[in-house]
Amino acid sequence: MTELSYWNKGEQVSVREAFGRILVHEAGQREDWVLLDADVAGGTGAKPLVGAHPGRVMQFGIAEQNMMAAAAGVADTGLIPVVSTFAAFGCMRAHEQFRTAVAYAERNVKLCCSHHGLDVGPDGATAQMLEDFATMRAIPGVTVISPADANEFMKAFTAVLDHKGPVYLRIGRSATRVVYGADHEFKIGKADRLRDGKDVTIVATGVMVARALDAAETLKGEGIDARVVNLATIKPIDVAEMVAAARETGGIVTAEDHNTMAGMGSAVAECLAEHAPARMRFVGVKDRFGKSGEHDELPAMFETDAAAIANACRSLLK
Protein backbone atom coordinates (compact mmCIF):
# COMPACT_ATOMS: atom_id res chain seq x y z
CA MET A 1 0.00 0.00 0.00
CA THR A 2 1.53 3.31 -1.05
CA GLU A 3 1.57 6.21 1.37
CA LEU A 4 -0.38 9.27 0.22
CA SER A 5 1.98 12.22 -0.17
CA TYR A 6 0.90 15.78 0.57
CA TRP A 7 2.27 19.06 -0.72
CA ASN A 8 4.20 21.54 1.42
CA LYS A 9 2.56 24.69 2.72
CA GLY A 10 3.29 27.63 0.44
CA GLU A 11 3.56 25.56 -2.74
CA GLN A 12 1.41 26.58 -5.71
CA VAL A 13 -0.67 23.54 -6.70
CA SER A 14 -3.77 23.07 -8.83
CA VAL A 15 -6.50 21.30 -6.89
CA ARG A 16 -7.25 19.16 -9.94
CA GLU A 17 -3.77 17.66 -9.55
CA ALA A 18 -4.88 16.61 -6.07
CA PHE A 19 -8.04 15.08 -7.59
CA GLY A 20 -5.93 12.80 -9.81
CA ARG A 21 -3.64 11.87 -6.94
CA ILE A 22 -6.40 11.02 -4.46
CA LEU A 23 -8.40 9.06 -7.08
CA VAL A 24 -5.42 6.79 -7.76
CA HIS A 25 -4.77 6.45 -4.04
CA GLU A 26 -8.38 5.58 -3.16
CA ALA A 27 -8.59 3.13 -6.08
CA GLY A 28 -5.89 1.18 -4.28
CA GLN A 29 -7.68 1.47 -0.94
CA ARG A 30 -11.21 0.39 -1.78
CA GLU A 31 -13.29 -1.24 -4.52
CA ASP A 32 -16.67 0.35 -3.76
CA TRP A 33 -16.58 3.37 -6.10
CA VAL A 34 -16.31 4.11 -9.83
CA LEU A 35 -15.54 7.29 -11.73
CA LEU A 36 -18.09 8.49 -14.29
CA ASP A 37 -16.53 10.77 -16.90
CA ALA A 38 -17.88 12.69 -19.89
CA ASP A 39 -14.70 13.01 -21.98
CA VAL A 40 -13.10 15.64 -19.73
CA ALA A 41 -10.81 13.59 -17.47
CA GLY A 42 -7.92 15.67 -18.78
CA GLY A 43 -9.69 18.86 -17.72
CA THR A 44 -11.01 17.76 -14.33
CA GLY A 45 -7.71 16.18 -13.31
CA ALA A 46 -9.02 12.58 -13.28
CA LYS A 47 -6.69 11.43 -16.07
CA PRO A 48 -4.17 9.60 -13.84
CA LEU A 49 -6.96 7.22 -12.76
CA VAL A 50 -7.78 6.42 -16.38
CA GLY A 51 -4.18 5.39 -16.92
CA ALA A 52 -3.65 3.54 -13.64
CA HIS A 53 -7.09 1.89 -13.16
CA PRO A 54 -9.07 1.96 -16.44
CA GLY A 55 -11.50 -0.63 -15.03
CA ARG A 56 -12.67 1.92 -12.49
CA VAL A 57 -13.87 4.39 -15.13
CA MET A 58 -17.30 4.45 -16.79
CA GLN A 59 -17.09 6.61 -19.92
CA PHE A 60 -20.19 8.45 -21.18
CA GLY A 61 -18.84 10.66 -23.94
CA ILE A 62 -20.15 14.20 -24.09
CA ALA A 63 -23.64 13.44 -22.76
CA GLU A 64 -23.87 14.75 -19.21
CA GLN A 65 -27.62 14.40 -18.69
CA ASN A 66 -27.34 10.70 -19.42
CA MET A 67 -24.27 10.41 -17.17
CA MET A 68 -25.99 12.07 -14.22
CA ALA A 69 -29.20 10.04 -14.35
CA ALA A 70 -27.13 6.90 -15.01
CA ALA A 71 -25.14 7.71 -11.85
CA ALA A 72 -28.40 7.36 -9.91
CA GLY A 73 -28.85 3.90 -11.43
CA VAL A 74 -25.25 2.90 -10.72
CA ALA A 75 -25.75 3.94 -7.09
CA ASP A 76 -28.82 1.70 -6.96
CA THR A 77 -26.53 -1.30 -7.55
CA GLY A 78 -24.48 -0.52 -4.44
CA LEU A 79 -21.50 1.22 -6.05
CA ILE A 80 -20.56 4.82 -5.21
CA PRO A 81 -20.50 6.83 -8.45
CA VAL A 82 -17.99 9.70 -8.47
CA VAL A 83 -19.34 11.86 -11.29
CA SER A 84 -16.79 14.23 -12.71
CA THR A 85 -17.26 16.98 -15.26
CA PHE A 86 -17.13 20.76 -15.59
CA ALA A 87 -19.40 22.70 -13.23
CA ALA A 88 -21.52 24.23 -16.00
CA PHE A 89 -22.48 20.72 -17.16
CA GLY A 90 -22.71 18.99 -13.79
CA CYS A 91 -24.41 21.78 -11.83
CA MET A 92 -26.55 23.31 -14.54
CA ARG A 93 -27.04 21.24 -17.71
CA ALA A 94 -27.66 18.06 -15.70
CA HIS A 95 -29.08 19.89 -12.68
CA GLU A 96 -32.55 18.41 -12.96
CA GLN A 97 -31.15 14.90 -13.31
CA PHE A 98 -29.15 15.52 -10.13
CA ARG A 99 -32.21 16.92 -8.34
CA THR A 100 -34.75 14.28 -9.32
CA ALA A 101 -32.83 11.08 -10.07
CA VAL A 102 -30.06 11.56 -7.49
CA ALA A 103 -31.04 13.85 -4.60
CA TYR A 104 -34.78 13.15 -4.39
CA ALA A 105 -34.01 9.43 -4.26
CA GLU A 106 -31.21 10.04 -1.72
CA ARG A 107 -28.76 8.22 -3.97
CA ASN A 108 -25.15 8.07 -2.85
CA VAL A 109 -23.65 10.04 -5.75
CA LYS A 110 -20.56 12.26 -5.45
CA LEU A 111 -20.50 15.07 -8.00
CA CYS A 112 -16.98 16.51 -8.38
CA CYS A 113 -16.74 19.47 -10.74
CA SER A 114 -13.89 21.58 -11.99
CA HIS A 115 -14.20 24.78 -14.02
CA HIS A 116 -16.07 27.16 -11.77
CA GLY A 117 -15.39 30.75 -10.91
CA LEU A 118 -12.84 33.13 -12.41
CA ASP A 119 -10.31 30.44 -11.44
CA VAL A 120 -11.06 28.92 -14.89
CA GLY A 121 -9.16 31.80 -16.51
CA PRO A 122 -8.66 32.03 -20.30
CA ASP A 123 -11.55 29.74 -21.35
CA GLY A 124 -13.77 32.68 -20.48
CA ALA A 125 -17.32 33.36 -19.40
CA THR A 126 -19.13 30.32 -20.82
CA ALA A 127 -16.82 27.96 -18.91
CA GLN A 128 -16.64 30.05 -15.74
CA MET A 129 -19.56 28.66 -13.74
CA LEU A 130 -20.33 31.36 -11.15
CA GLU A 131 -23.62 29.82 -10.04
CA ASP A 132 -22.76 26.33 -8.77
CA PHE A 133 -23.17 27.04 -5.04
CA ALA A 134 -26.57 28.55 -5.84
CA THR A 135 -27.86 25.64 -7.90
CA MET A 136 -26.50 22.90 -5.67
CA ARG A 137 -27.26 24.23 -2.21
CA ALA A 138 -30.90 24.85 -3.14
CA ILE A 139 -31.50 21.10 -3.48
CA PRO A 140 -32.66 19.42 -0.24
CA GLY A 141 -30.22 17.02 1.40
CA VAL A 142 -27.17 17.88 -0.70
CA THR A 143 -23.82 18.52 1.01
CA VAL A 144 -21.78 21.27 -0.69
CA ILE A 145 -18.01 21.40 -0.20
CA SER A 146 -15.39 23.79 -1.58
CA PRO A 147 -11.87 22.97 -0.30
CA ALA A 148 -9.23 25.67 0.13
CA ASP A 149 -6.25 23.87 -1.37
CA ALA A 150 -4.87 20.61 -2.75
CA ASN A 151 -4.20 19.03 0.64
CA GLU A 152 -7.61 19.87 2.03
CA PHE A 153 -9.19 18.56 -1.19
CA MET A 154 -7.63 15.11 -0.74
CA LYS A 155 -8.86 14.88 2.85
CA ALA A 156 -12.29 16.12 1.81
CA PHE A 157 -12.52 13.54 -0.98
CA THR A 158 -11.89 10.66 1.40
CA ALA A 159 -14.43 12.08 3.85
CA VAL A 160 -16.93 12.38 0.99
CA LEU A 161 -16.50 8.71 0.04
CA ASP A 162 -17.14 7.76 3.67
CA HIS A 163 -20.21 10.04 3.91
CA LYS A 164 -23.57 8.55 2.88
CA GLY A 165 -25.67 10.78 0.62
CA PRO A 166 -25.38 13.11 -2.35
CA VAL A 167 -22.45 15.55 -2.30
CA TYR A 168 -21.21 18.34 -4.54
CA LEU A 169 -17.43 18.84 -4.30
CA ARG A 170 -15.61 21.68 -6.08
CA ILE A 171 -12.29 20.99 -7.81
CA GLY A 172 -10.08 24.05 -8.49
CA ARG A 173 -8.32 24.38 -11.82
CA SER A 174 -5.55 26.96 -11.43
CA ALA A 175 -2.46 26.85 -9.23
CA THR A 176 -3.49 27.81 -5.69
CA ARG A 177 -1.28 28.36 -2.67
CA VAL A 178 -1.27 25.45 -0.24
CA VAL A 179 -2.40 26.69 3.20
CA TYR A 180 -2.81 23.35 4.97
CA GLY A 181 -0.20 20.79 5.95
CA ALA A 182 -0.58 17.03 5.99
CA ASP A 183 -1.78 17.22 9.59
CA HIS A 184 -4.97 19.17 8.70
CA GLU A 185 -8.09 17.57 10.13
CA PHE A 186 -10.99 17.96 7.73
CA LYS A 187 -14.51 17.29 8.94
CA ILE A 188 -17.64 17.76 6.82
CA GLY A 189 -19.72 20.58 8.29
CA LYS A 190 -16.90 22.02 10.41
CA ALA A 191 -15.57 25.49 9.55
CA ASP A 192 -11.88 26.01 10.29
CA ARG A 193 -10.60 29.11 12.11
CA LEU A 194 -7.25 29.57 10.38
CA ARG A 195 -6.37 32.80 12.13
CA ASP A 196 -7.95 34.34 15.22
CA GLY A 197 -8.86 38.01 15.41
CA LYS A 198 -11.27 40.31 17.21
CA ASP A 199 -12.04 43.25 14.91
CA VAL A 200 -13.60 41.59 11.86
CA THR A 201 -14.07 38.06 10.48
CA ILE A 202 -13.33 37.08 6.91
CA VAL A 203 -15.30 33.95 6.00
CA ALA A 204 -13.69 32.58 2.85
CA THR A 205 -14.03 29.46 0.72
CA GLY A 206 -11.96 27.78 -2.00
CA VAL A 207 -9.26 29.86 -3.70
CA MET A 208 -10.35 32.88 -1.62
CA VAL A 209 -8.93 31.41 1.59
CA ALA A 210 -5.29 32.15 0.72
CA ARG A 211 -6.34 35.65 -0.38
CA ALA A 212 -8.19 36.15 2.91
CA LEU A 213 -5.03 35.25 4.81
CA ASP A 214 -3.08 37.79 2.72
CA ALA A 215 -5.73 40.45 3.37
CA ALA A 216 -5.56 39.77 7.11
CA GLU A 217 -1.79 40.24 7.01
CA THR A 218 -2.18 43.59 5.22
CA LEU A 219 -4.81 44.71 7.74
CA LYS A 220 -2.57 43.74 10.63
CA GLY A 221 -0.09 46.41 9.44
CA GLU A 222 -2.92 48.94 9.80
CA GLY A 223 -3.78 47.80 13.30
CA ILE A 224 -6.87 45.79 12.23
CA ASP A 225 -7.05 42.35 13.82
CA ALA A 226 -8.91 40.14 11.33
CA ARG A 227 -10.11 36.60 12.01
CA VAL A 228 -10.04 34.21 9.02
CA VAL A 229 -12.46 31.29 8.84
CA ASN A 230 -12.33 28.71 6.04
CA LEU A 231 -15.91 27.72 5.26
CA ALA A 232 -15.13 24.62 3.19
CA THR A 233 -18.53 23.04 3.87
CA ILE A 234 -21.10 25.54 2.67
CA LYS A 235 -23.99 23.18 3.38
CA PRO A 236 -24.66 22.18 6.05
CA ILE A 237 -23.22 25.41 7.42
CA ASP A 238 -21.32 25.54 10.72
CA VAL A 239 -23.82 27.66 12.64
CA ALA A 240 -21.78 27.81 15.87
CA GLU A 241 -18.68 29.16 14.14
CA MET A 242 -20.71 31.76 12.23
CA VAL A 243 -22.48 32.90 15.39
CA ALA A 244 -19.17 33.09 17.25
CA ALA A 245 -17.75 35.30 14.48
CA ALA A 246 -20.80 37.56 14.62
CA ARG A 247 -20.72 37.88 18.40
CA GLU A 248 -16.97 38.11 18.96
CA THR A 249 -15.93 40.40 16.09
CA GLY A 250 -17.25 43.62 14.56
CA GLY A 251 -18.75 42.09 11.45
CA ILE A 252 -18.39 39.56 8.66
CA VAL A 253 -16.82 39.83 5.21
CA THR A 254 -17.52 36.82 3.00
CA ALA A 255 -15.18 35.96 0.13
CA GLU A 256 -16.03 33.53 -2.68
CA ASP A 257 -15.15 32.92 -6.32
CA HIS A 258 -18.86 32.87 -7.23
CA ASN A 259 -21.71 35.27 -7.88
CA THR A 260 -22.39 37.17 -4.64
CA MET A 261 -26.09 36.38 -5.17
CA ALA A 262 -27.26 33.03 -3.79
CA GLY A 263 -23.76 31.75 -3.04
CA MET A 264 -21.69 31.20 0.09
CA GLY A 265 -22.08 34.77 1.37
CA SER A 266 -25.83 34.42 1.04
CA ALA A 267 -25.69 31.16 3.01
CA VAL A 268 -23.79 32.94 5.80
CA ALA A 269 -26.26 35.83 5.72
CA GLU A 270 -29.24 33.46 5.94
CA CYS A 271 -27.64 31.80 8.94
CA LEU A 272 -26.80 35.01 10.76
CA ALA A 273 -30.06 36.80 9.99
CA GLU A 274 -31.76 34.07 11.99
CA HIS A 275 -29.22 33.41 14.75
CA ALA A 276 -27.03 36.50 15.25
CA PRO A 277 -27.64 39.45 12.92
CA ALA A 278 -24.33 41.06 11.95
CA ARG A 279 -22.99 43.75 9.67
CA MET A 280 -21.76 42.17 6.47
CA ARG A 281 -19.89 42.82 3.23
CA PHE A 282 -19.82 40.41 0.29
CA VAL A 283 -16.72 39.88 -1.83
CA GLY A 284 -17.28 37.87 -5.02
CA VAL A 285 -18.40 38.41 -8.58
CA LYS A 286 -21.10 41.06 -8.43
CA ASP A 287 -23.95 39.56 -10.43
CA ARG A 288 -22.17 39.59 -13.79
CA PHE A 289 -20.57 37.07 -16.13
CA GLY A 290 -16.85 36.42 -16.15
CA LYS A 291 -14.46 36.88 -19.08
CA SER A 292 -11.22 35.58 -20.55
CA GLY A 293 -7.98 36.46 -18.82
CA GLU A 294 -5.42 34.70 -16.68
CA HIS A 295 -6.67 33.37 -13.35
CA ASP A 296 -4.26 35.73 -11.56
CA GLU A 297 -5.30 38.77 -13.66
CA LEU A 298 -9.08 38.49 -13.34
CA PRO A 299 -9.39 38.92 -9.53
CA ALA A 300 -8.10 42.51 -9.70
CA MET A 301 -10.55 43.37 -12.50
CA PHE A 302 -13.52 41.72 -10.74
CA GLU A 303 -12.48 42.88 -7.26
CA THR A 304 -12.06 39.41 -5.84
CA ASP A 305 -8.38 39.73 -4.89
CA ALA A 306 -6.79 40.18 -1.45
CA ALA A 307 -6.93 43.95 -1.86
CA ALA A 308 -10.70 43.82 -2.41
CA ILE A 309 -11.14 41.69 0.71
CA ALA A 310 -9.05 44.16 2.75
CA ASN A 311 -11.11 47.04 1.35
CA ALA A 312 -14.34 45.34 2.32
CA CYS A 313 -13.03 44.91 5.88
CA ARG A 314 -12.05 48.60 6.09
CA SER A 315 -15.44 49.63 4.73
CA LEU A 316 -17.22 47.49 7.31
CA LEU A 317 -15.24 48.96 10.20
CA LYS A 318 -15.78 52.61 9.16
Binding site: N66, A69, A72, G73, V74, A75, T77, T100
Partner: protein
Protein backbone atom coordinates in the same frame (compact mmCIF):
# COMPACT_ATOMS: atom_id res chain seq x y z
CA UNK B 1 -45.91 -18.59 -19.20
CA UNK B 2 -48.57 -18.26 -16.50
CA UNK B 3 -52.13 -18.52 -17.78
CA UNK B 4 -53.66 -15.79 -15.59
CA UNK B 5 -51.76 -12.76 -16.93
CA UNK B 6 -54.84 -11.28 -18.63
CA UNK B 7 -56.64 -11.50 -15.31
CA UNK B 8 -53.71 -9.80 -13.53
CA UNK B 9 -53.79 -7.02 -16.15
CA UNK B 10 -57.53 -6.64 -15.53
CA UNK B 11 -56.93 -6.30 -11.79
CA UNK B 12 -54.23 -3.68 -12.43
CA UNK B 13 -56.72 -1.71 -14.53
CA UNK B 14 -59.44 -1.92 -11.88
CA UNK B 15 -57.17 -0.79 -9.05
CA UNK B 16 -55.66 2.01 -11.19
CA UNK B 17 -59.06 3.48 -11.98
CA UNK B 18 -60.33 3.20 -8.40
CA UNK B 19 -57.21 5.03 -7.21
CA UNK B 20 -57.50 7.81 -9.79
CA UNK B 21 -61.19 8.21 -9.01
CA UNK B 22 -60.51 8.44 -5.28
CA UNK B 23 -57.67 10.93 -5.81
CA UNK B 24 -59.86 13.10 -8.08
CA UNK B 25 -56.83 13.46 -10.35
CA UNK B 26 -54.30 11.28 -12.14
CA UNK B 27 -53.67 9.84 -15.58
CA UNK B 28 -56.01 6.97 -16.57
CA UNK B 29 -55.18 6.74 -20.29
CA UNK B 30 -51.49 5.97 -19.96
CA UNK B 31 -52.07 3.75 -16.93
CA UNK B 32 -54.45 1.52 -18.86
CA UNK B 33 -52.11 1.29 -21.84
CA UNK B 34 -49.28 -0.28 -19.78
CA UNK B 35 -51.36 -2.71 -17.66
CA UNK B 36 -50.63 -5.74 -19.85
CA UNK B 37 -46.86 -5.23 -19.94
CA UNK B 38 -46.79 -4.69 -16.15
CA UNK B 39 -48.76 -7.92 -15.63
CA UNK B 40 -46.26 -9.92 -17.69
CA UNK B 41 -43.25 -8.30 -16.04
CA UNK B 42 -44.35 -8.58 -12.40
CA UNK B 43 -46.32 -11.83 -12.53
CA UNK B 44 -44.13 -13.86 -14.81
CA UNK B 45 -40.82 -12.50 -16.06
CA UNK B 46 -39.18 -10.46 -13.32
CA UNK B 47 -37.22 -12.08 -10.52
CA UNK B 48 -38.45 -10.02 -7.55
CA UNK B 49 -39.50 -10.74 -3.98
CA UNK B 50 -41.93 -8.33 -2.30
CA UNK B 51 -40.34 -9.26 1.05
CA UNK B 52 -36.96 -7.98 -0.17
CA UNK B 53 -37.63 -4.84 -2.24
CA UNK B 54 -34.05 -3.57 -1.79
CA UNK B 55 -32.25 -6.82 -2.66
CA UNK B 56 -29.38 -5.68 -4.87
CA UNK B 57 -29.72 -8.77 -7.09
CA UNK B 58 -33.43 -8.22 -7.92
CA UNK B 59 -34.59 -7.47 -11.46
CA UNK B 60 -35.44 -3.81 -11.92
CA UNK B 61 -38.31 -1.92 -13.52
CA UNK B 62 -38.01 1.80 -14.20
CA UNK B 63 -41.30 3.45 -15.20
CA UNK B 64 -39.95 6.43 -17.11
CA UNK B 65 -43.45 7.65 -18.01
CA UNK B 66 -44.05 8.33 -14.33
CA UNK B 67 -47.54 9.80 -14.74
CA UNK B 68 -48.76 6.23 -15.32
CA UNK B 69 -47.79 5.29 -11.77
CA UNK B 70 -51.35 4.31 -10.70
CA UNK B 71 -50.80 1.17 -12.79
CA UNK B 72 -47.35 0.58 -11.28
CA UNK B 73 -48.69 0.97 -7.73
CA UNK B 74 -51.55 -1.38 -8.62
CA UNK B 75 -49.14 -4.00 -9.96
CA UNK B 76 -46.94 -3.73 -6.86
CA UNK B 77 -49.96 -4.01 -4.57
CA UNK B 78 -51.33 -7.11 -6.33
CA UNK B 79 -47.82 -8.57 -6.23
CA UNK B 80 -47.83 -8.15 -2.46
CA UNK B 81 -45.53 -5.21 -1.75
CA UNK B 82 -48.32 -3.42 0.13
CA UNK B 83 -52.13 -3.75 0.49
CA UNK B 84 -54.31 -2.96 -2.52
CA UNK B 85 -56.20 -0.47 -0.34
CA UNK B 86 -52.96 1.47 0.08
CA UNK B 87 -52.52 1.77 -3.72
CA UNK B 88 -55.93 3.46 -3.68
CA UNK B 89 -54.66 6.24 -1.36
CA UNK B 90 -52.99 7.77 -4.42
CA UNK B 91 -51.99 11.46 -4.18
CA UNK B 92 -53.29 11.93 -0.64
CA UNK B 93 -51.43 14.06 1.88
CA UNK B 94 -51.45 11.23 4.42
CA UNK B 95 -50.17 8.64 1.94
CA UNK B 96 -46.76 7.74 0.50
CA UNK B 97 -48.44 7.04 -2.87
CA UNK B 98 -47.00 10.14 -4.55
CA UNK B 99 -48.54 11.57 -7.72
CA UNK B 100 -45.41 10.42 -9.56
CA UNK B 101 -43.15 7.51 -8.57
CA UNK B 102 -41.28 7.98 -5.30
CA UNK B 103 -38.54 5.48 -4.50
CA UNK B 104 -39.71 5.30 -0.85
CA UNK B 105 -42.68 3.23 -2.00
CA UNK B 106 -41.72 -0.45 -1.60
CA UNK B 107 -40.95 -1.92 -5.00
CA UNK B 108 -40.49 1.39 -6.85
CA UNK B 109 -36.98 1.21 -8.30
CA UNK B 110 -36.55 4.79 -9.49
CA UNK B 111 -38.12 8.23 -9.16
CA UNK B 112 -39.69 9.62 -12.33
CA UNK B 113 -42.26 12.10 -13.48
CA UNK B 114 -39.93 14.37 -15.36
CA UNK B 115 -39.88 12.65 -18.74
CA UNK B 116 -36.63 11.48 -20.29
CA UNK B 117 -34.70 10.41 -17.18
CA UNK B 118 -35.83 6.82 -16.81
CA UNK B 119 -33.79 5.12 -19.51
CA UNK B 120 -30.55 6.66 -18.21
CA UNK B 121 -31.30 5.38 -14.72
CA UNK B 122 -31.92 1.93 -16.15
CA UNK B 123 -28.68 2.20 -18.12
CA UNK B 124 -26.80 2.99 -14.91
CA UNK B 125 -28.36 -0.06 -13.22
CA UNK B 126 -27.32 -2.24 -16.18
CA UNK B 127 -23.78 -0.82 -16.07
CA UNK B 128 -23.54 -1.36 -12.31
CA UNK B 129 -24.67 -4.98 -12.83
CA UNK B 130 -22.03 -5.60 -15.50
CA UNK B 131 -19.32 -3.95 -13.42
CA UNK B 132 -20.02 -6.21 -10.45
CA UNK B 133 -20.97 -9.37 -12.34
CA UNK B 134 -24.55 -9.28 -11.00
CA UNK B 135 -26.95 -11.29 -13.21
CA UNK B 136 -30.11 -9.17 -12.79
CA UNK B 137 -31.96 -7.58 -15.73
CA UNK B 138 -33.25 -4.02 -15.99
CA UNK B 139 -36.50 -3.10 -17.75
CA UNK B 140 -37.58 0.43 -18.63
CA UNK B 141 -41.04 1.46 -19.80
CA UNK B 142 -40.94 4.64 -21.88
CA UNK B 143 -43.81 6.57 -23.47
CA UNK B 144 -44.20 8.79 -26.49
CA UNK B 145 -43.22 11.85 -24.42
CA UNK B 146 -40.02 10.17 -23.23
CA UNK B 147 -39.02 9.58 -26.84
CA UNK B 148 -39.13 13.35 -27.47
CA UNK B 149 -36.67 14.16 -24.67
CA UNK B 150 -33.00 14.50 -25.66
CA UNK B 151 -31.89 12.70 -22.51
CA UNK B 152 -33.56 9.51 -23.77
CA UNK B 153 -31.55 9.60 -27.00
CA UNK B 154 -28.31 10.13 -25.07
CA UNK B 155 -29.13 6.91 -23.24
CA UNK B 156 -30.06 5.10 -26.48
CA UNK B 157 -26.67 6.08 -27.97
CA UNK B 158 -24.83 4.96 -24.86
CA UNK B 159 -26.59 1.61 -24.29
CA UNK B 160 -26.15 0.55 -27.91
CA UNK B 161 -22.48 1.55 -27.89
CA UNK B 162 -21.90 -0.33 -24.63
CA UNK B 163 -23.75 -3.42 -25.92
CA UNK B 164 -25.81 -3.68 -22.70
CA UNK B 165 -27.72 -6.91 -23.30
CA UNK B 166 -29.03 -6.86 -19.70
CA UNK B 167 -31.18 -3.81 -20.52
CA UNK B 168 -34.59 -3.89 -22.20
CA UNK B 169 -36.97 -1.08 -23.07
CA UNK B 170 -40.69 -1.43 -23.67
CA UNK B 171 -41.97 1.56 -25.61
CA UNK B 172 -45.64 2.16 -24.86
CA UNK B 173 -46.59 3.71 -28.19
CA UNK B 174 -50.13 4.85 -27.42
CA UNK B 175 -50.02 7.72 -29.92
CA UNK B 176 -51.53 10.47 -27.75
CA UNK B 177 -49.62 12.94 -25.58
CA UNK B 178 -50.68 15.67 -23.15
CA UNK B 179 -52.17 18.23 -25.48
CA UNK B 180 -52.67 16.47 -28.78
CA UNK B 181 -51.86 13.41 -30.88
CA UNK B 182 -48.13 12.62 -31.23
CA UNK B 183 -48.67 12.99 -34.97
CA UNK B 184 -49.20 16.76 -34.63
CA UNK B 185 -46.67 17.50 -31.82
CA UNK B 186 -43.43 15.71 -32.70
CA UNK B 187 -43.74 12.45 -34.56
CA UNK B 188 -40.66 10.28 -34.79
CA UNK B 189 -41.95 8.20 -37.66
CA UNK B 190 -40.36 4.76 -37.59
CA UNK B 191 -39.02 4.61 -34.03
CA UNK B 192 -37.71 1.03 -34.33
CA UNK B 193 -35.58 1.92 -37.34
CA UNK B 194 -34.06 4.90 -35.54
CA UNK B 195 -33.28 2.95 -32.37
CA UNK B 196 -31.87 0.02 -34.38
CA UNK B 197 -29.47 2.45 -36.03
CA UNK B 198 -27.88 2.96 -32.59
CA UNK B 199 -27.11 -0.74 -32.22
CA UNK B 200 -30.24 -2.07 -30.51
CA UNK B 201 -32.15 -5.24 -31.23
CA UNK B 202 -35.76 -4.26 -31.90
CA UNK B 203 -39.04 -6.17 -31.78
CA UNK B 204 -42.52 -4.89 -32.71
CA UNK B 205 -45.55 -6.35 -30.94
CA UNK B 206 -49.17 -5.78 -29.99
CA UNK B 207 -48.69 -4.23 -26.54
CA UNK B 208 -51.93 -5.72 -25.21
CA UNK B 209 -51.18 -9.33 -26.18
CA UNK B 210 -49.67 -10.83 -23.04
CA UNK B 211 -48.30 -13.85 -24.95
CA UNK B 212 -46.57 -11.54 -27.42
CA UNK B 213 -45.14 -9.40 -24.61
CA UNK B 214 -43.83 -12.52 -22.90
CA UNK B 215 -42.29 -13.85 -26.13
CA UNK B 216 -40.57 -10.49 -26.81
CA UNK B 217 -39.10 -10.40 -23.29
CA UNK B 218 -37.76 -13.94 -23.73
CA UNK B 219 -36.25 -12.91 -27.05
CA UNK B 220 -34.61 -9.95 -25.29
CA UNK B 221 -33.18 -12.28 -22.66
CA UNK B 222 -31.67 -14.49 -25.34
CA UNK B 223 -30.19 -11.61 -27.35
CA UNK B 224 -26.49 -11.24 -26.62
CA UNK B 225 -24.34 -8.17 -27.25
CA UNK B 226 -27.25 -5.76 -27.78
CA UNK B 227 -29.91 -4.09 -25.64
CA UNK B 228 -33.47 -4.78 -26.79
CA UNK B 229 -36.12 -2.20 -27.64
CA UNK B 230 -39.69 -3.54 -27.80
CA UNK B 231 -42.05 -1.30 -29.75
CA UNK B 232 -45.42 -2.01 -28.17
CA UNK B 233 -48.35 -0.85 -30.27
CA UNK B 234 -50.90 0.21 -27.65
CA UNK B 235 -54.22 1.99 -27.24
CA UNK B 236 -54.47 4.79 -24.72
CA UNK B 237 -57.26 3.98 -22.26
CA UNK B 238 -57.25 0.27 -23.31
CA UNK B 239 -60.00 -1.80 -21.75
CA UNK B 240 -62.58 0.96 -21.21
CA UNK B 241 -64.43 1.74 -24.44
CA UNK B 242 -65.17 5.40 -23.71
CA UNK B 243 -61.55 6.07 -22.79
CA UNK B 244 -59.88 4.24 -25.67
CA UNK B 245 -58.05 6.64 -27.97
CA UNK B 246 -59.66 9.69 -26.33
CA UNK B 247 -57.21 12.50 -25.51
CA UNK B 248 -59.29 13.80 -22.57
CA UNK B 249 -58.39 10.68 -20.61
CA UNK B 250 -54.64 11.32 -20.81
CA UNK B 251 -55.14 13.26 -17.58
CA UNK B 252 -54.98 14.67 -15.06
CA UNK B 253 -58.75 14.23 -14.81
CA UNK B 254 -61.38 14.08 -12.13
CA UNK B 255 -63.34 10.90 -12.75
CA UNK B 256 -67.05 11.07 -11.93
CA UNK B 257 -68.66 8.29 -9.87
CA UNK B 258 -70.77 7.21 -12.85
CA UNK B 259 -67.70 7.12 -15.08
CA UNK B 260 -65.90 4.85 -12.63
CA UNK B 261 -68.85 2.51 -12.32
CA UNK B 262 -69.31 2.32 -16.11
CA UNK B 263 -65.61 1.59 -16.50
CA UNK B 264 -65.63 -1.07 -13.78
CA UNK B 265 -68.71 -2.72 -15.34
CA UNK B 266 -66.82 -3.10 -18.61
CA UNK B 267 -63.75 -4.44 -16.85
CA UNK B 268 -65.82 -6.90 -14.78
CA UNK B 269 -67.48 -8.19 -17.95
CA UNK B 270 -64.13 -8.62 -19.70
Amino acid sequence: MRNDLNEMARQIRVTSLKAIHAARSGHPGGSLSIADMLAVLYFDVMNVDPAKPDDVTRDRLVLSKGHACPALYAALAHKGYFPVAEAETLRRIDSIMEGHPDFRIPGVDAPSGSLGMGLSQGLGMAMGAKHQGLPFRTHVIVGDGDMQEGNTWEAIMSAGFKELDNLVVIYDGNKLQGDAPVETQLSLGDVAQKVAAFGWHTVAIDGHDTAAIHKALMEAKNTKGKPTFIVADTVKGKGVSFMEGVLYWHGSVTMKDAELSDALKELEAA
